[in-house]
Amino acid sequence: MKKLLNVALGVLTAIGGFVDIGDLVTNAQVGARFGLSLAWVTLLGVVGIIVFAEMSGRIAAVSGRATFDLVRERLGPAMGMANLLGSMGVTLLTYVAEIGGVALAFQLICGVDYLLLFPFVGALVWLVLWRAKFSVIENLFGLLGLALIVFVVALLKLGPDWSQLGHSAVSFQPPKPEAWSTWAYYAVALFGAAMTPYEVFFFSSGGVEEKWGVKDIGVMRTNVLLGFPLGGVLSVAIAACTYVVFNPLSASVDTLGQVGLPVAIALGKIGLAIALLGFVAATFGAACETGLSTGYSIAQYFGWQWGKFVRTDVAARFHLVLLLSTVIALGVLATGIDPVQVTEASVVFSALALPLTYFPILVVANDRDYMGEHVNGRVLNVLAMFFMVVLTVVALAAIPLMIWTRMGA
């Protein structure tokens, strides 16, 4: 019974935890402009994150050590540093976006400008990272993030033309008058949002925090195989809602306030209140996860004591990194930069860093010295190699498309 509860809790938190500010904004933008013609990218991203999250979770369960710890040892300091710099840069950018996202969500609730709110949000996030238990961070916000299921209900209530939605989903081309280059740019952004590197760091480091062993691999796989696809359903529902409401008006979506409008139109104030709870939980949870991921990455690379499972004074350098990351994030937001623009940039740069993040995981997962009998099977390796090719193409295309389309204009 306890195992069943653990599975249920893991699946629910994986669903709620899948969506962050990047997914919220990117899916809403894509839905309004391109309908569901890029839903296949979300599907591809979900399969990709399943493949690599399972791999990194298995590594943590078998070796009892997290990603960066092993990458540096297995691939050497130079490759480890390249991996660290690429992933860290993106994770820090995502951390800025998530804190800004929480402030934007609070602005929708209280009407106070996010520029007055973000310092308090940053302080609150840091306080949670410092004082709260790991299980609280992982489970509480993940469960509250489930409130975003309200987008699925809203979609049903909006009563869309399902055949039109279905046609859009299988069209595999940009609707007129959108250009192929812009469509491709958003495909890259959507893929980057679905496969954000921090998700894997947090997942594997969380496994170490929770002392996973080989016996936990089954539960971990269930969480990944059920939680992430259902999280993908939420993403597609957000895109479908903005498609139904904004596409007929030829309006684009550029703010978090616009993202919630379809829910309000369909379900009124109660629905909107649930969506707002989901916004806060999803962005706050993701802020905690990205904050922790920066600490995990640096501490694991340099071999410092890390994690929430040890006393704060024992992992002092890890907690110092958390504090400095928060200060840097707040410093960036203090420039007045629009958090939504930071989000847009973070998902594209995330796409750029994908091969650097996932290649070392693939190498370690194939090393019998670490994994013993739990190394990757042949089918999984074929799938992983396919994704390595996709990740490389996406990474190479990200910056040229960003310049060519002027960030999707």
Binding site: F246, S250, A251, G257, Q258, A264, I265, L276, I403, A409
Partner: protein, 145 residues
């Protein structure tokens, strides 16, 4: 890689270039038009939104429209597009001013004014849409008034 991206961005075509102005104009019209549609939608369903939410949507739409309009006005149009540019600038200014009216009404919780604002926003949206279609059809119809 990021450095290369920034350098390459600097190599992107500058203005005044005919195609570049057209792209900038379409982007600004699209942004302002989206702001207008969003506020129209929010006011139509104001009874389904919380006060602070409606206010935030209105404020952010006004800000976004202001930014888009200012960006385009800073771009010098190429000679053949001067007339078009004046039309676009005038339409964007009108839209921006209407969004300011909407924001004032929302902040004052003057719900009696919403119905009229929705009508005006709809008209403005249609006007922007027509201008957008004409710009999109350029340069083939550049000689048209």
């Amino acid at each position: 890689m990021v450095l290369v991206a920034i350098i390459l961005s600097a190599c992107a075509p500058g203005t005044p270039d005919e195609d570049s102005w057209r792209v900038d104009a379409l982007r600004s019209i699209g942004d302002v038009s989206s702001s207008v549609s969003s506020v129209q939608l929010a006011l139509q369903h104001h009874d389904r939104l919380f006060g602070p939410y409606l206010q935030t949507v209105a404020v952010q739409a006004e800000d976004a429209a202001g930014t888009a309009s200012t960006k385009l006005s800073a771009v010098q149009p190429p000679e053949p597009y001067q007339g078009r540019s004046d039309t676009v600038t005038s339409a964007l200014d009108d839209a921006e001013s209407l969004l300011t009216d909407a924001r004032i009404a929302v902040v004052r919780r003057d719900s009696a004014a919403y119905a009229d604002l929705v009508r005006r926003l709809k008209r403005t949206g249609d006007r922007l849409s027509r201008i957008e279609d004409r710009i999109r059809a350029l340069p083939d119809d550049r000689s048209r008034p």
